[in-house]
């Protein structure tokens, strides 16, 4: 392995490859900030350029774009509540409130350091555990996925403020409903499409996020304009540029980062899961383990709440490389595009990759780490300037948010129907927000809903309609037992508090 690391370092540390990582990170950050243009689009746009290089350099460039896009997505999540990338939706839950409190610079710094730490730790996990983890990922079956999705839904507790639990639950069910629109994956039967071809593929996740977050946020800002508490927020905009993280915040991050990186990496390794689910799970898990005092801060600008999804989504990016490099199975849409590019180079990923093409295997792993360092060096000094976006007067900022939302959704699907659907959902979401219905549970359920139903039905199919699959496999039973324990713990704590 040492020999492999040295090969990787030698390849990754050439001038050309360092330059490629830098270009990739910068380009990715810009693309990631634009709603609708996620890492998948960014990498797809890079493919024709990479064919001019050797495979290792091409992949290094694409890896840089990948990380840059995820970081760029966090920036728009924190500053505008308009997640540029699905994997950074959970970042907005605490990042945006923090920015609204005049701590935008700090929020971006926490995101940058957490991303860096998450990426670094996951690169280490990848280095030592890639081959063995690929076998573990293949042992996951439908019942295990179903149990994992149920575990993910326990994160809902994080979004239900006092007396709002039912409303949060209601939004979960609504999210699951939205996820059920379109062609049923197991039977090809269409549901809730009303004979409209545009709905056959279901509703896009980015569309729902843009509608419920960015657009409805823009509309809600109008309502807050005359709010006296808003005036206080405006005053604190003078502190936008401060990126100093104090000792107390650092201590919190030291605890959050290792556990979130493990969750993120492991979820990233599972085919089909990816950074979005990883960030939601890490957010929910983090809330379950922090103190009661910190729990209260979740959703209102918690350091742990921001650090956890940021660490996890970067760790998941590295994790998704495991099945791609070791088995030739893409763990996410983005790695699927990269796999296509690899095949275009004439490189066949799989168990023999690090024997036949060690320079590619190891240089990607090493360049991931280098990419993280470069991302940090590039972005940290820019944070005070990026944070100034919040100081843009609202009469320009709101049209710009609407403009980017509409353009972003259009360039994602090239379909006007998606824009009209987004506007419709945004209007409904704004009214629901007015009556204190929280939006994050809807997004959480929408992400997990499709996979949850699909795996539930597949499990029932495999077990001839019997529900025994819930306890037949040890792994399924363990995940479900953990879920039940978490729920019981929450109920116990609530009763204890009441008494």
């Amino acid at each position: 392995m040492i020999e492999g690391i040295l090969i990787g370092l030698t390849t990754a540390l050439t001038f050309q490859n360092i330059l490629m990582v830098m270009v990739g990170c910068f380009f990715g950050t810009i693309i990631g900030m634009l709603p609708g243009l996620g890492p998948m689009t960014a990498i797809a746009l890079m493919i024709p350029i990479t064919y001019g290089f050797d495979p290792a350099t091409g992949l290094i460039l694409m890896a840089g774009v990948y990380y840059g896009a995820v970081f760029g997505g966090s920036t728009s999540s924190i500053l505008l509540n308009a997640p540029g990338v699905p994997g950074t939706v959970a970042t907005s839950f605490d990042g945006y409130p923090m920015a609204q409190q005049g701590k935008a610079g700090k929020a971006l710094a926490i995101a940058a350091w957490s991303s860096f730490a998450g990426g670094t730790l996951s690169a280490i996990y990848l280095l030592f555990m890639a081959p063995s983890l690929s076998k573990v990922s293949l042992s996951f079956r439908s019942p295990d996925y179903f149990a994992l999705m149920i575990l993910g839904l326990t994160a809902i507790a994080a979004f239900s403020s006092k007396g709002q639990f039912l409303k949060a639950m209601m939004m979960v069910v609504l999210g699951l409903m939205l996820a059920s629109v379109g062609q049923d994956s197991l039977s090809d039967i269409t549901r809730f499409t009303f004979n409209n071809m545009n709905l056959t593929d279901g509703i896009s996740f980015v569309l729902v996020v843009m509608a419920t977050f960015a657009m409805s946020e823009a509309l809600t800002i109008i309502l807050k304009r005359n709010d006296p508490t808003d005036a206080a927020k405006q005053v604190s905009l003078t502190e936008l540029g401060s990126i100093r993280i104090n000792k107390e915040e650092r201590t919190k991050m030291y605890k959050t980062i290792p556990r979130s990186s493990v969750i993120g990496f492991l979820i990233g390794v599972l085919p089909g899961a990816g950074a979005t689910i990883a960030s939601f799970l890490a957010y929910g898990m983090e809330r379950n383990v922090v103190s009661d005092e910190e729990k209260e801060k979740f959703g209102k600008g918690s350091v742990n709440g921001l650090s956890a999804p940021e660490t996890a989504n970067n760790a998941a990016c590295s994790g998704s490389f495991v099945p791609m490099l070791t088995l030739g199975i893409p763990g996410s849409g983005t790695t699927a595009v990269m796999l296509g590019a690899l095949l275009g180079f004439g490189v066949q990923p799989g168990p023999r990759l690090y024997m036949t093409n060690p320079e590619i295997f190891w240089s990607i792993i090493m360049s991931m780490y280098i990419g993280m360092v470069i991302l940090l060096i590039l972005n940290l000094p820019l944070i005070p300037y990026i944070a100034r976006i919040l100081a843009v007067p609202k009469n320009y900022l709101i049209p710009l948010i609407l403009f980017f939302s509409v353009t972003g959704i259009y360039v994602m699907s090239f379909n006007n129907f998606d824009i009209y659907l987004m506007i419709g959902i945004a209007v409904v979401a704004t009214f629901l927000r007015l009556y204190d219905f929280p939006m994050p549970p809807l997004i959480l359920a929408f992400v997990l809903g499709g996979l949850m139903e699909e795996n539930l039905r597949r499990s029932l199919l495999l077990s001839n309609g019997s529900w025994e699959f819930l306890w037949d496999r040890t792994l399924t039973a363990c995940i479900l037992a953990t879920t039940i324990l978490i729920v019981i713990w929450h109920i116990y704590k609530t009763f204890k508090k009441k008494n």
């Binding site: 039912l166 039967i189 403009f403 006007n416 506007i423 539930l456």
Partner: protein
């Protein structure tokens, strides 16, 4: 605090069908019932192929859950009324109506023209009356973005009056 209590009291004094809790719950329940009826029109997987649940079962269960939870939320709201929002500002409705303008313009004239109209209209509603800044937000900025998407990223926008001029 006193204002909130006053608002709550004011809301409580209204007949139940005028209260926001009732109106919101009614809309949700009626929509759910309509969707529930729709689920009975979904195709059915033949029994020989079906070893689990039908495609309609999961949404049916969710819709029943929504109805039950809405009733519960309404019941709780009768005991503890929702905080009534102050009258919604004019700019809120103007922004909503700008979406209608956007849809009409993008369908009939041009996608980019519609985006420009949306940006100018929203900016104007928000109090920007200076022509230069309105032009900046509504025309110059969309042009820059259009060129960026079109030339650098190679993405093509739908045909329309303005885009046709550019493409021709």
């Amino acid at each position: 605090m006193k204002n909130v209590q006053k608002q709550k009291r004011a809301n409580k004094s209204l007949p139940f069908f005028f209260r926001d809790e009732f109106k919101v719950s009614l809309v949700i329940i009626l929509t759910s019932i309509a969707l529930l009826i729709t689920t009975f029109t979904f195709d059915i997987v033949p029994p020989i192929l079906n070893r689990g649940i039908q495609p309609a079962t999961f949404p049916k269960a969710l819709l029943v859950l929504i109805i039950v939870m809405t009733l519960l939320i309404y019941y709780l709201a009768t005991k503890n009324p929702w905080k009534v929002e102050k009258k919604l500002p004019r700019s809120f409705f103007l922004t909503l109506s700008s979406f209608v303008i956007f849809v009409v313009v993008s369908k009939t004239l041009d996608f980019f023209l519609a985006i420009s109209a949306l940006s100018i209209f929203v900016s104007y509603c928000w109090g920007e009356k200076r022509l230069f800044y309105l032009l900046l937000v509504g025309i110059i900025f969309p042009i820059i973005v259009f060129i960026f998407f079109e030339t650098i990223l190679g993405l093509r926008f739908p045909p329309g009056i303005i885009t046709n001029i550019y493409y021709s």
